[in-house]
């Protein structure tokens, strides 16, 4: 038994005040150097790195609901870097590196679990695309291989190699693929940020953004107004709505993304397995539950209702991939809101409003970028608007010059 548990167990009065991960609520101050709108993983990570690396601690994170309650709470916790473009792979590889250190950095276990991710190719086109992704990954030092059906059988012996009459032709085996306790990532960042003096204000909704002469100067909230030096908007699922308050449009459309989970059973599946052709993704959590995800909903909507149609098609395909799963029991389905861009890449950097920085357009792939996005956004803020090289390709004005970063093929149903 680890020492830390003995320590808690032998202490009758545990938990003491100093054990608290998050401070008690406080009043809003009239001014902050930095206001971060959105207390999800990205927002708290940005605050954490601002405090840790740049000594900027007069920071308020304003969260309209509860810490990590948006897509941080709803995603299926996939961590991977097997993208297609150089820009994408470089960016996400940095994230994977940071993730591995987080538990020790936070002194809080995020249960990072490197299980490897297997993506299945059922068509020649997929094989070509996967080979390219494997090559791009290897080029940047990632561990990704195109593997053949025999190797797939050895990795996942329980997989049906001819699901829905779509034989598995090859697989993209991404050894860096991992998962983590998604909530814990937000909590760990929040703990680290608040211990350094950052304020986390939950149940604090930004109702308007104050822009004067093209420059943001403050925000209005349900708890009063605050002035600020700059704003970081990190509100996945609601990016366009907040941008509208700041006075500009975004190249984003918001779609629900649904996922579902079964009752726990004894572990039998280590890698994360996905089939883009069958729009199906599955992994077994540390608790023994199976988590399934698929494609986004077919039309835009700001509602997290569940649908029968998606559940039927997703689970039919899941049972095709793993026939014995027919006997599993589904326990819960839910949804998140995803801000989709036309090139399936995020938007980070400057906005049409001065001192108003964007962290948006994260579609279905935001969780895995949490550390590196937070780190880059902190750099951007601390430098007073100098965009770090790593995120330059993801500026919003790439759409105005038609220079998109196309990750469509590397994103479908893999999250």
């Amino acid at each position: 038994m680890p020492f830390s548990l003995l320590k808690y167990g032998l202490n009758k009065d545990y938990p003491f005040e100093q054990h608290a991960d998050l401070p008690k609520p406080t009043e809003l101050k009239p001014h902050y150097d930095v206001v971060i709108i959105g207390g999800g993983g990205h927002g708290v990570a940005t605050a954490y790195y601002l405090a840790k690396y740049h000594g900027i601690t007069n920071v308020a994170i304003l969260e309209k609901s509860y810490l990590g309650g948006g897509n941080t709470a709803r995603n299926t916790a996939v961590i991977r870097s097997n993208y297609l473009t150089s820009e994408g792979v470089k960016f996400y590889s940095e994230s994977v590196k940071l993730f591995k250190e987080l538990s020790n950095e936070f002194d809080f276990n995020i249960m990072y679990s490197q299980r490897g991710q297997l993506t299945l190719a059922h068509t020649d086109a997929a094989v070509r695309g996967f080979r390219q992704r494997a090559e791009v990954n290897k080029h940047f030092g990632g561990k990704t291989e195109l593997i053949d059906p025999q190797q797939i059988r050895e990795l996942v012996p329980t997989l049906n190699m001819n699901p829905a009459d779509m034989p598995v032709l090859a697989g993209l085996w991404h050894m860096d693929g991992a998962t983590a306790r998604h909530d814990a990532v937000a909590w760990g960042y929040a703990k680290g940020a608040t211990q350094r003096g950052v304020e986390l204000h939950q149940l604090t909704e930004v109702t308007d953004v104050i822009v004067e002469q093209g420059k943001v100067t403050g925000v209005k909230t349900n708890r009063g107004n605050v002035s600020c030096g700059c704003v970081v908007q990190a509100v996945a699922g609601h990016s366009s709505l907040l941008a509208a308050k700041a006075g500009f449009k975004m190249p984003i459309t918001t779609f629900p993304l649904q996922a579902m989970v079964t009752q726990p059973v004894k572990p039998f599946l280590d890698p994360l397995v996905s089939s883009p052709s069958l729009h199906c993704y599955v992994q077994q959590t540390g608790r023994g539950e199976l988590v399934f995800g698929g494609g986004s909903d077919p039309y835009p909507l700001y509602s997290t209702r569940s649908t029968m149609d998606l559940k039927e098609s997703l689970l039919a395909n899941a049972v095709e991939l793993f026939p014995f799963m027919a006997n599993m029991r589904l326990m819960r389905q839910w949804a998140g809101l995803t801000d989709m861009t036309s090139d399936y890449s995020p938007i980070m950097g400057l906005s049409p409003v001065d001192n108003y920085y964007l962290d948006a357009g994260w579609g279905t792939w935001g969780f895995k970028s949490t550390p590196i996005c937070g780190k880059s956004m902190a750099e951007l803020v601390a430098s007073g608007g100098k965009v770090p090289e790593l995120i330059k390709p993801f500026s919003m004005d790439r759409f105005n010059s038609f220079r998109q970063v196309n990750e469509m093929g590397a994103t479908a149903a893999s999250h």
Partner: protein
């Protein structure tokens, strides 16, 4: 499953329909600015409100217009596109020499 009222086929399951995006006015492609064109192509309102959208009833290949609330998903009305598009659209010739 959600139902939608197709102006041609009546009340049908939403799975029979394909979303076709917001009804947007195209700026004159031969005279507008690059930014105006990029805004038309990529940028959206994407608000929580009633939006006017294109929908296709896929089995019959029929496009129509729906007014739908993007927060509640309530479909307020659906109608034939001729209500909004009732006359032949013409394009003016390019003002600059394009590629041959």
């Amino acid at each position: 499953m959600k139902m939608m009222n197709c102006p041609l086929n009546g009340l049908r399951n939403i799975s029979e329909f394909v979303h076709g995006g917001e009804v947007k006015e195209m700026p004159d492609p031969n005279s507008c600015s690059d930014d105006a064109w990029a805004e038309y192509v990529f940028y959206t309102e994407n608000g929580i409100s009633v939006v006017t959208e294109w929908w296709l009833h896929a089995p019959s290949g029929y496009w129509f217009i729906a007014e739908r609330h993007t927060g509640s998903d309530e479909i307020l009305k659906t109608y034939d596109p001729s209500v909004l598009f009732n006359k032949r659209v013409e394009f003016s010739a390019p003002v600059t020499e394009g590629m041959a």
